[in-house]
């Protein structure tokens, strides 16, 4: 099972507000979001996660 799939487990009893529409784009490879993700990675590499969360993850 992929990491992403693992995150989706156990969510059936809560409700999303969004309308699901398969015409919504997949922006995974958009340079804007790649740049933002890389900046966030660098930040996390520098400061890590809070101790409480790091233990849980």
């Amino acid at each position: 099972m992929s990491t992403t799939a693992k995150h989706k487990a156990g969510t059936k009893n809560k409700k999303a507000f969004a309308v699901i529409d398969n015409n919504v784009g997949n922006y995974e490879k958009h340079p804007f979001f790649i740049k933002k993700a890389n900046a966030a990675k660098a930040l996390l590499k520098a400061v890590g996660l809070p101790k409480q969360l790091a233990k849980a993850k």
């Binding site: 309308v19 930040l43 890590g48």
Partner: protein, 145 residues
Amino acid sequence: MQLPRYPYKTNAAFLDYEFISEGPKGSIKKVIRFTQIDNAVFNLGFGDLDEETGEISDAIVTNNNDSRIVLATVAAAVHDFTVNYPNAVVIAKGSTHSRTRLYRMGITNHWKEISADFEVYGLKDADWELFAERRDYEAFLIHRK
């Protein structure tokens, strides 16, 4: 939490979201993406989409007089994302100090509702601390309780 917000759409993966900001500057398409950057950590990215060029920017000051509605819509997307990825940690940082401050004000204004469902951490002087009102932060981490 039922704040006024724009109708918004997502795809089946619940990672990408789109909505339209309406105001004096016209209709502006906004896009949100949760990008996985570590095992359970996702970056919250958010910007204006120029549908002609395909470019996305968070440097534009839209001036559509709807920042509260836009923020509430982004918050709703965070809700939806974490419903579908309950173990995820979401990192959010504004493109400028003033935008990060806007996030902080949004969290503060709705802290009672947010804190019921989420743990929120703020980054202060290179250390994460549990979110406290009236503290200025450089970034935020959000995790569903």
